[in-house]
Amino acid sequence: MHEVDMTKCLLLALQQWREEQASPQAMVDTIHLDVGRFTCVEPEQLRFTFQAAVAGSWLDGAQLQIEEIPFVGRCLVCNGTYSPTPEGAYRSPCCDHPLEEIVSGRELRIRSIDYRTSLQSAVESQALSLQRV
């Protein structure tokens, strides 16, 4: 399924990120994704294939935090926005106009990454263990 391909793309992007922006010792905690509702990505499937793909790798344990971006269209007749639906044939309910402009819903984006380096890992582990006491 294409979530496997999406995962491959995500892994490539993260590898490139580690090489270009972070350090080789970077350990990722959370990857924040924006996934639009008018894409062919299903967030739970993506989460599942991601966990399977990163097991045993430098990304093992990294979590995906996925924000689903609503599918919103703009009616070019009255400039109002609306939620296109198949039952409404994606037409604007205000003016019965076809879907000309998509305001949101096509996002497939890595928004940010929470990570730590080895030095911080030692410090943070200590901080966490102190909190538990």
Binding site: H2, A13, Y90, S112
Partner: protein
């Protein structure tokens, strides 16, 4: 540490595929080849359309086909019989072509011919109405096929495919007299999700509408590639 991604990385989940697609596109531009990504559900008539179109178009243009299929080379064999160079791409488990697969196909094509001599490249995608629309391969235009036997509601049920298409071909119109469907309903549903798409009704069997389709191709080639070279 919380780090927003730099814009340079594109922040796009599909950045790797997009990057390769742009690379493919650069090749097409350098070779002055119009690249078309042909998509539809299985059985809508992609291969039949090419079997009908290619012999006629071969009188005007030099063409080649990258033929995507999951596990067989059956479609590639059908098109080879027409006399056009065909490079089969078996995708294995993947239900769509991606830019890397097309890049691999182009390498194989270049072993057989000089791509500068090509006018048109057909990329026949895997039969699938869901995924291919999300994966650019470097094409100039996306061509979506919808057969009259699939039902008038398919543009509403698979909106992304029809939204992404530049042209939608309604195929198998020779069967209209036997079906409880209206061509106008197909057109309205396609228009609702994508008012910009050209819509052309065709029959690969009888040839009806094929001349309109070829006129669209001529116009696309003229308007898409560099006008100066198109006029040469």
């Amino acid at each position: 540490m919380h780090l927003p991604l730099e814009d340079r990385l594109g922040m796009n989940l599909l950045a790797a595929n997009q990057h390769q697609a742009e690379h493919n596109r650069e090749h097409f531009e350098a070779w002055q080849v119009l690249a078309l990504n042909v998509m539809s559900s299985p059985g809508a008539g992609k291969t039949a359309l090419l079997e009908r179109s290619l012999p006629q178009l071969a009188q005007e243009w030099s063409m080649a086909v990258l033929e995507g299929d999951m596990t067989t080379q059956l479609d590639a064999e059908r098109l080879e019989a027409v006399g056009i160079p065909v490079v089969p791409i078996t995708t294995g488990r993947s239900c769509h072509l991606d830019a890397a697969m097309v890049s691999g196909g182009l390498k194989l094509l270049r072993e057989r011919l000089n791509p500068n001599q090509l006018d048109l490249l057909w990329v026949e995608n895997v039969g699938n109405l869901v995924c291919p629309a999300e994966f650019e391969v470097g094409e100039h235009h996306k061509v979506a096929l919808l057969s009259v036997t699939e039902g008038e509601d398919k543009p509403l049920k698979y909106p992304l495919m029809f939204r992404q298409a530049d042209v939608v071909l309604i195929t198998k119109i020779d069967l209209l007299p036997y079906l409880p469907v209206e061509l106008e309903t197909f057109r309205r549903n396609i228009n609702s999700i994508n008012p910009k798409a050209s819509v052309i009704s065709v029959s690969a069997l009888t040839g009806e509408g094929i001349d309109v389709w070829h006129a669209w191709l001529r116009s696309a080639r003229q308007n898409t590639l560099e006008p100066a070279l198109a006029m040469a």
